[in-house]
Symmetry: C2
Subunit: 131 residues, 2 copies
């Protein structure tokens, strides 16, 4: 059975991205491949085998574009207010914490934050399906 | 520590997507939320907790757009030729299997395939960092 192992995003400044994902989510460098024109950096923490792969194309200067198809990736956390406070202190300006309900039943508590290259991240409190 | 749990993509035809991810990667529906205007469908297999979340906006007719920032998600498999054959038989037209080397050392054997909405998927053979 195939196993899903990473998602790849292109970033302009790998140091900026490593700081964001490290300070914000505990995702640190697990593996790095250096080539003349590009660098591949794999970030992870101990909670899941799944990694974020950063592709840094050395010559790229203009910001990457985002279509309307790809959405976000999501993290769960025990304490959503603590994560919100941490990201706020980092200057990441997370959106407000919201509740997602269906017929009065709480499905999720979550907020969105945007990484330095504009990729959307959903942070969910551990609850129901999200754990 | 936050745990990464899913990535979300928007799709035009959830039945087509479920068939593609089910037949191709063994990703089947783990959870579904139905709302008047949209449906959320969570796909996974037993190899990893990480899920693909399909968002189906019922009124959307035109294809979603893809910028140049977001790259792909990746699966590993024991037998890459078998996966290539299966996806070919499904009519998914995977690209050729390639080798990724650095100073003569094999880093990865892989191919790319595109899902029904144009999202890129990398399929890697289990090897080295990719497992």
């Amino acid at each position: 059975m195939p196993k899903i192992i990473h998602t790849m995003i292109r970033v302009l400044d790998p140091e900026r991205s490593k700081k964001f994902y490290g300070d914000g989510f505990g995702f640190i460098v697990a593996h790095q491949l250096n080539f003349p024109n590009f660098t591949l950096i794999y970030l992870r923490n101990s909670e899941n085998d799944f990694e974020i792969e950063l592709t840094y194309n050395h010559d790229r200067k203009e910001p990457y574009t985002h279509g309307d198809g790809y959405g976000h990736y999501a993290f769960v956390t025990e304490n959503i207010q603590e994560m919100h406070d941490k990201l706020t202190a980092m200057g990441a300006s997370p959106a407000a914490i919201k509740e997602f309900k269906q017929e009065g039943e709480l499905l999720a508590r979550f907020f969105f934050v945007v990484d330095p290259d504009g990729y959307k991240i959903e942070v969910l409190e551990k609850w129901g399906h999200y754990h």
